[in-house]
Symmetry: C2
């Protein structure tokens, strides 16, 4: 199985009320391409949020900090301007996902209200347009404890099982694998980021060649507080 990961170029700046599915489909068609069965379309949440009108004023740093507090349901850590917070969805990330990059000055972008639902809607529309069975992953860029640097992760998914459970299967040596639940959608999000790039303004990509279809929601990736050793 060889994967290909291709950026989707030519998307315009997304505005509230835009039909994101149509714009993504047009960008793909405009490049002379099409989607085929089992393609995974990966989009950064920023274009989803913008299309859904999740852009709010943030005229100064104080207003931005108020937004962060408003979007957070729990603050895990603070240091200087950095706040590590849990969002309503359950995701733990910097500034509760409130972001001022790739948006016009004086404004901030919030996470989609229900990124799994956003992924699902996008998927249904793209499936109709290309007559293909697809999956969609909505991503954000998160930091990690212990490791420097950010990576893209999934915050919404449709048409894929977010975690593939290999427990009980055997490794190549015949030993039962005992702790191997792979967060496949996070690996897909990270892979897609390699062709998108925050500075290039390419907010979407196509991952082709995966055989990983299924069902589930990205909120299943949230580790319940009682299982979490770092809360």
């Amino acid at each position: 199985m060889t994967l290909t990961i291709a950026p989707i170029r030519g998307l315009p700046e997304i505005r509230p009320g835009d039909d994101l599915a149509e714009l993504v489909a047009d960008a793909i068609s405009g490049a002379g391409e099409r989607l085929v069965d089992d393609d995974v379309v990966v989009v950064t949440h920023k274009v989803v949020s913008k299309a859904e009108g999740r852009i709010v004023p943030a005229l100064d740093d104080a207003a931005y900090r108020r937004l962060v507090e408003q979007e957070a349901v729990a603050i895990l850590r603070r240091r200087g301007d950095l706040v590590i917070a849990q969002t309503r969805h359950g995701f733990v990330c910097a500034n509760a996902g409130v972001d001022r990059s790739n948006v016009e000055p004086g404004r901030a972008v919030l996470l989609p209200i229900d990124p799994d639902r956003s992924a699902h809607r996008l998927r249904i529309r793209l499936e109709r347009r290309f007559d293909a069975s697809l999956a969609v992953v909505v991503t954000d860029t998160f930091g990690r404890p212990w490791r420097r640097g950010l990576v893209d992760v999934a915050i919404g998914v449709s048409g894929l099982t977010p975690i593939v459970d290999l427990r009980g299967t055997r490794d190549a040596a015949g030993r039962i694998l005992d702790a191997t639940e792979v967060a496949v959608v996070d690996e897909i999000a990270a892979a897609a980021d390699l062709v998108m790039g925050k500075a290039d303004g390419i907010p979407a990509a196509i991952v082709r060649g995966l055989r990983a279809r299924g069902d589930g929601r990205a909120v299943e990736l949230v580790r319940p507080a009682e299982e979490d050793l770092f809360r």
Copy 2:
């Protein structure tokens, strides 16, 4: 830029003292393929560790637990059989990287002593064999706080900058990006895992099409304790 990610098939079971570079090169050549400039060869640390003789007896659970304590320089959390520990390299992971899957019963695999050096040696040999300028990433499978499921990350690298610093560059809207250091090698590790698969026994892959060459070591990914909010 379109990426392709292809598994390297046909590697034999790796034994202490094996010439891993030669075996990887033979597997590539045997499939009628070759490496070209800018290819990134991704290998799971397990085959690196095995070739380097980092296999030790672990006859029962008590012996395994002693190994974990021996490989750890700091224990961050314990719950039941699970130990989250920091290794000598600085990585924070389950059981200090000591692993009993994909190895014969009664044995455990330790992390390479210096995975960056392992990556470097592999790179030099593969570059000579294919007369190409390459990069190598050595991976392991880590859990994360807050998020369920495991993802592959880089624990060794040669020929790539592990973290691409976009701070000071401008986004598509002209705003200075202010907190965007991307852990590109971790995204490469995650991407490669999509074609490897723990149950399939495919321990290596080729990522082709990236333009991300540079220098650095995976230990640069270790967040210094004083910067870390979760220690």
